[in-house]
């Protein structure tokens, strides 16, 4: 430890190299991994003619369908999310408000394959709602294809959009809302003066996020696509790699996906437009709005009830259909119980390291961003957004190809899955930590600088107290995302060694529906367990309601 002429004690790890080096290494590693990923595919196979993209009818259709379904899903999700957010702002005393907000949060972290099984139970050929509709009307409905894909995307993304937009609407300063209330502004003028300025700030970010999620959606299209006519780029890449062994075509499609999503995120990063996904929601002062009474109130309540049903019915289906299956497995034991136990252990063996990796690397990359200048900040934004754009299957395949000589057994494959899952969770995990890590105000920073709180000391005294909960939440999120993963594991998993989502897919594929329903419910229970476990430190300290904490912890979610 060095002492200055004026008695200053140098803090451990306060050299700029410590603050930038590790994060820079990880950020460069992530970008290199992406570049290497695509390059490895190109190296293994000749890239087909680019003109094949518009000459080959199948590829042409895949690209057009991917863009079309993502556009429709984004538009509907944003529209529904906006209506829901406005209704919730207008009706702060809606009786089911808290429950609806919790369900909106819960639906976001549901593993896709579980949610899809719930959606099938409600809207499928023999679903609850389909049966009622077909009995009373002449309307016929097919869940498979564009309908189902868009429905599932809206199920996942409308709550996400609604939550972010609600946060933006609630962030309008109270004095401005009071003035609008006093002036009795309604309709177009209320929208122009109060709502639109708040929504406009976050709308591009939310739109880009939702579009990217829909554009790169895999499990939903795999399960609800229904045929080659409804194939997206991500699924086409999977098919090229898994069934046709056509690495060249996979690389070409991956480059197309990277270009489209990359261009979108480049614009976002350049214009500093990003959606704030932080779960900390402040409940603002409730000021009555002139447009919250009369017919509008009835309309809002009806809309909120319908939306609640839209979200609750599939969840209820997972619960009601899963309970008997789960009980049967628990009571009868035998092979199904062994399968489930082994799959559970295997899932955790992948998910916990994946969560730890994503949190650790996210923290280092963000630390670099907060210490460095504009270039490092942009590098950090790109590095953490890259996993959103690159199909995990491409990353996985590339790593597999590169490491193939040294990959000896199935455990290596599982380690690869954990690594890719950790990388895929990064964009969401970093969103959770970015705010608490970067929100030190100027006076605190100056005070800390003067007292010599740098390096390890700054982390210990300033960052750690603020980051404890977000870190635990990020860990829960990284773990939960990996727990529900059905993308990377579909490529690297072996049928004899399934994780819980793969086991569920196998059971669905072999029409063991009761068992599948039980497994789906079990997966949801595991997810809740993970979030509850990582919320416990906060519970002990703050003596808060555990269930509230669990659901609050679920606030930051994305379907796996």
């Amino acid at each position: 430890m060095r002492h200055s002429p004026f008695g200053y004690t140098q803090a451990p790890f306060s050299h700029p190299a410590w603050q930038i080096g590790p994060g820079l290494t990880i950020a460069c590693g992530l970008i290199a991994l992406t570049v290497t990923g695509v390059a490895a595919l190109l190296w293994q196979a000749h890239l087909p003619e680019v003109s094949e993209l518009w000459r080959n009818r199948y590829l042409n259709n895949v690209i057009r369908f991917t863009v079309w379904q993502a556009t429709v899903s984004t538009a509907l999700s944003l529209l529904l999310g906006l209506f829901i957010a406005l209704a919730l702002v207008r009706q702060p005393r809606f009786p089911g408000r808290r429950l609806l907000l919790r369900v909106m949060e819960l639906s976001l972290v549901l593993p896709t394959i579980v949610a899809v099984s719930g959606l099938v139970a409600v809207y499928g050929r023999h679903g609850w709602l389909t049966a009622i509709v077909e009995q009373w009307t002449t309307v016929r409905w097919n869940l498979y294809g564009l309908n189902g894909i868009v429905l599932a995307h809206v199920f996942f993304n409308a709550p996400l959009a609604g939550r972010i937009l609600l946060q933006a609407l609630e962030s309008v300063p109270a004095p401005r809302r009071r003035i609008a209330s006093q002036l009795g502004l309604k309709g177009r003028w209320l929208w122009r003066t109060l709502d639109w300025p708040a929504v406009r700030r976050v709308l591009p970010g939310v739109a880009a996020l939702v579009f990217t999620l829909c554009f790169t959606s895999f499990a939903i299209v795999m399960t609800l696509g229904g045929g080659p006519a409804s194939t997206t780029l991500e699924v086409a890449i999977y098919q090229s790699l898994r069934f046709e062994f056509d690495f060249g075509r996979a690389a070409l499609l991956a480059v197309v996906q990277l270009l489209i999503c990359g261009a979108l995120w480049f614009l976002m990063v350049r214009r500093s437009l990003s959606a704030n996904l932080s779960p900390a929601r402040e409940f603002p002062e409730s000021i009555p709005r002139p447009d919250s009474q009369g017919v509008r109130r009835l309309q809002d309540v009806a809309l909120l009830l319908c939306f609640s049903l839209f979200l609750l019915l599939p969840l209820a289906a997972v619960l009601f259909r899963g309970l008997p299956g789960l009980a049967t497995v628990a009571i009868n034991g035998g092979q199904p119980l062994n399968e489930m136990t082994e799959a559970t252990l295997r899932s955790f063996a992948i998910a916990l390291p994946a969560g730890a990796f994503s949190v650790f690397s996210g923290l280092l990359v963000l630390s670099m961003s907060s210490r460095g200048g504009g270039h490092l900040s942009r590098l950090s934004s790109v590095a953490t957004a890259v996993p959103l754009m690159v199909p995990p299957i491409v990353l996985g395949t590339a790593l597999f190809l590169l490491l193939r000589p040294s990959l000896g057994n199935s455990y290596d494959g599982l380690a690869l899955v954990a690594l890719i899952n950790g990388v895929m969770a990064l964009p969401f995990v970093t969103q959770l930590m970015r705010g608490p890590l970067n929100n030190l105000d100027k006076s605190t920073v100056r005070q800390a600088d003067q007292l010599g709180l740098r390096g390890w000391y700054r982390w210990r005294w300033l960052h750690w107290p603020r980051l404890k909960r977000p870190l635990a939440l990020a860990m829960a999120y990284g773990t939960g995302l990996s727990l529900g993963d059905f993308g990377v594991i579909a490529l690297f998993g072996t049928p004899g060694q399934p994780t819980i989502p793969v086991l569920l897919y196998q059971q669905l594929g072999s029409y063991r529906m009761d068992l599948a329903a039980g497994t789906a419910l079990w997966l949801v229970c595991l997810l809740l367990l993970v979030f509850a476990a990582f919320s416990l430190p906060g519970y002990r300290r703050n003596h808060r309601n555990l269930a509230g904490n669990v659901f609050k912890a679920l606030a930051e979610g994305r379907h796996a």
Binding site: Y8, T9, D441, D449, L453, W461, L462
Partner: protein
């Protein structure tokens, strides 16, 4: 002696250039006088190392301070507010002024307790800043500054907004600090503060 010679500073994209030249000896207090926007806080931030001057020198005992970062300068600042870390208790806030890793000897821990007694805050060790009044917060911040034992104390409107009793108490503490040979650089709008504490006046 604190010596400031030909120190100039200009905020980016502005025309105004501030120039400062003055000197203060041990046990003296210099009051900076001027209307809002005249550069009082800018000068304190330059001395603390939060801003970088365009030219000129800052010396303490003939050692050049210009190149030193804030944490290596022999100064402690006391602002009108936001002097404490809100998420840390009183004892930790003070302790961090003595050692940034909070590695305190028994003597140093005792000094904190005695210091709290001397500023009329016995038993406040575990209180959070949010639970304190404005005057109590300033007393904690000042106690940290005293225990930090740096020779120069930069005061930016430290008594503004406090009640009469708190002001009297804090002025007494500052006078004790001055009597112990420390240098005080005071930016204050308050004439009475200047009259009681200052030995010199710097008009901006």
């Amino acid at each position: 002696m604190l010596e400031v010679k030909g120190l100039t500073f200009r905020y980016p994209e502005t025309e105004t250039i501030w120039r400062f030249t003055f000197g203060v000896d041990h046990g003296e207090c210099i009051a900076i006088n001027g209307p809002s926007g005249s550069g009082k806080s800018t000068l304190l931030n330059l001395l603390a190392g939060f801003l970088t001057p365009e030219s000129g020198t800052i010396r303490w005992e003939n050692r050049l301070l210009n190149e030193l970062p804030p944490w290596e300068r022999p100064v402690t600042s006391l602002f009108q507010e936001h002097n404490l870390f809100e998420h840390l208790d009183v004892q930790t806030n003070i302790g961090l002024g003595i050692h940034p890793g909070l590695k305190l000897t028994r003597t140093q821990k005792e000094a904190i307790s005695h210091g709290l007694v001397s500023v009329g805050m016995t038993g406040f060790e575990r209180r959070m800043p949010g639970d304190l009044s404005g005057g109590q917060r300033q007393r904690v911040a000042l106690l940290r500054a005293l225990l930090r034992d740096q020779p120069i104390l930069l005061l930016d409107e430290p008594l503004t907004g406090l009640d009469a009793e708190a002001r009297t108490q804090l002025r007494a503490l500052l006078l004790r600090h001055k009597a112990a040979g420390k240098v005080l650089v005071l930016a204050s709008h308050d004439q009475e503060d200047r009259k009681i504490l200052a030995d010199k006046l710097l008009n901006l």
